[in-house]
Symmetry: C2
Subunit: 343 residues, 2 copies
Amino acid sequence: MKVFKINGKTGTSEIVIGESIKNLSKYSKSNKCVIVTDTNVNALCGAFFPSGFEVIEIGIGEQNKTLSTVEKLYEKFLEFGLDRASYVIGIGGGIVCDVTGFAASTYLRGIRFGFVPTTLLAQVDASLGGKNGVNFKGYKNLIGTFNQPEFVLCDFEMLKTLPIRELKSGFAEIIKHAIIADIQLFSYLEKNYENALSLHRTEIEKILYDSFAVKSKIVSMDETEKGERRKLNFGHTLGHAIEKTTGLLHGEAISIGIIAAAKLSLKKGMLTQKDAERVENLISKFGLPTKIKMDKIAVIDAIEKDKKRENKKIRFVLLEKLGRAKIIDIEIDELKGVVSDMC
Amino acid sequence: MKVFKINGKTGTSEIVIGESIKNLSKYSKSNKCVIVTDTNVNALCGAFFPSGFEVIEIGIGEQNKTLSTVEKLYEKFLEFGLDRASYVIGIGGGIVCDVTGFAASTYLRGIRFGFVPTTLLAQVDASLGGKNGVNFKGYKNLIGTFNQPEFVLCDFEMLKTLPIRELKSGFAEIIKHAIIADIQLFSYLEKNYENALSLHRTEIEKILYDSFAVKSKIVSMDETEKGERRKLNFGHTLGHAIEKTTGLLHGEAISIGIIAAAKLSLKKGMLTQKDAERVENLISKFGLPTKIKMDKIAVIDAIEKDKKRENKKIRFVLLEKLGRAKIIDIEIDELKGVVSDMC
């Protein structure tokens, strides 16, 4: 078991890597604890929830990541008489964590909360960085706050219940962290991908820890996403556009986005051919897609609607070298060229 | 003109005392500014709003302090294409400021915002301290965040449009600040109450500045209301209960609450008879009520439902002496005795 501590502007957070959900009540010390989860997770893991905790179930899928779900949580919080000393624990994937974090951050102007993420993606991504929120009128995460949970328990047993495709998808964010800021982690992933995919304890513990270290360092430099933190968007501008227009999982779409960003870095003379190939090979080793048949026009349209766009330029994350990202304004047309190459 | 600066955990804020709304555009430098106001304020002051700013009107009164109003703001923000560089300005009383602050703090996980409070109560109370939010299912301010506006312009001209009863009500919070932490301000108010009520520039500027200094010092010690900040609740436990059960304005109800808290401090041997009388006299000088016919049972019932209650005790703010508050757990029964004395 490894513990990763984060000191953010909005508070301190403890990520416990390799802890079992069975020990949850050690972390949520309070007069009253409420668990927020979804129907699937409750069915699979409900038996491990501590007795005496109230459980609130939300529906499954992105269509439930709304203000209306948040309002239902407020109603339940009231019904259970939660006060400022109470604890809310989100147990589930990214959607459960995002919705729970937002509800807890705004109920009574913020009560204490923690997460037990049940997917690798949520362990790596949604539980660290303090972003929470919901979609609004079709816009992803339009409404939310920055507020770090007090604790995050990463239980590897949870990951064993995941479909393999979803597990692989979670590794995309880890690979991203290695590429943008940790060349040692990158090499480690190249060597140990098989044990990582089989969820061997030693490897997964190290990989998660190092991945948190990358994200945490970047987040702590820029908690409210005004500069440095944009590096975490590596692979995401194109990735989001692909996710929106194809049926790919988040990590799968990000994989294509990462490869495109590496190719563009190569094209601009920033990355070597050899390193661009290492990126593609690593993604391939983790069983993630390296190319996809996509509707070029729809993808470009989605990029043009991107929040980070300013006139004809877009703020884009490229690679100076393997292990070092750089934020650069590039022409939309340049990006279109890369999209064409990928199709 | 006096400028009061606040460095809070959630950012820096500038309160400009005696600035005209006509200079608003100096403070909200951005590609896009949106004003949120209510029907009354728009009719009275709309002519002074800078040209080129979009204006969103919300309905008047507590019944509009809801999530549904916040959602309407989100929709308008989307319609006007607000991004992270945009500015939202709330111009109105406490309700406009509270709703605007919450919407701006959660849209895109927080965009920049400022206030032009148009009532004395909002200038003193709602614009400083970073509390925002809305009511939910009949509970006041159940949903919200702590987030300080970047600027607050206190325009005295605005106050001249207020009904005199509302103006007097605003002074109750100023008197409260003097009583809990600033004996000099208390003496100044005793001497200069007439010019203060006539909104003479010199007096009102000094009184607001000193009042901000008290609140700001307390808030900076405890931004998320875990200890010291509770002192600002002086007069409010009983005051809120009275406000809820009678037709009194906030400041009027608080005045009764302040006198009750002073009387209880006297009873407990903490405050002298003479100082308790000074409190009552000052409130009287500002034309605020010192007693009211109230439904004792309803008031006690409201106190018992108070958020700050723990079993049979309630966390209460008393006075060690004039100019110094102290937080003490007292028995509900003791409080009932004081309520009986006031009826």
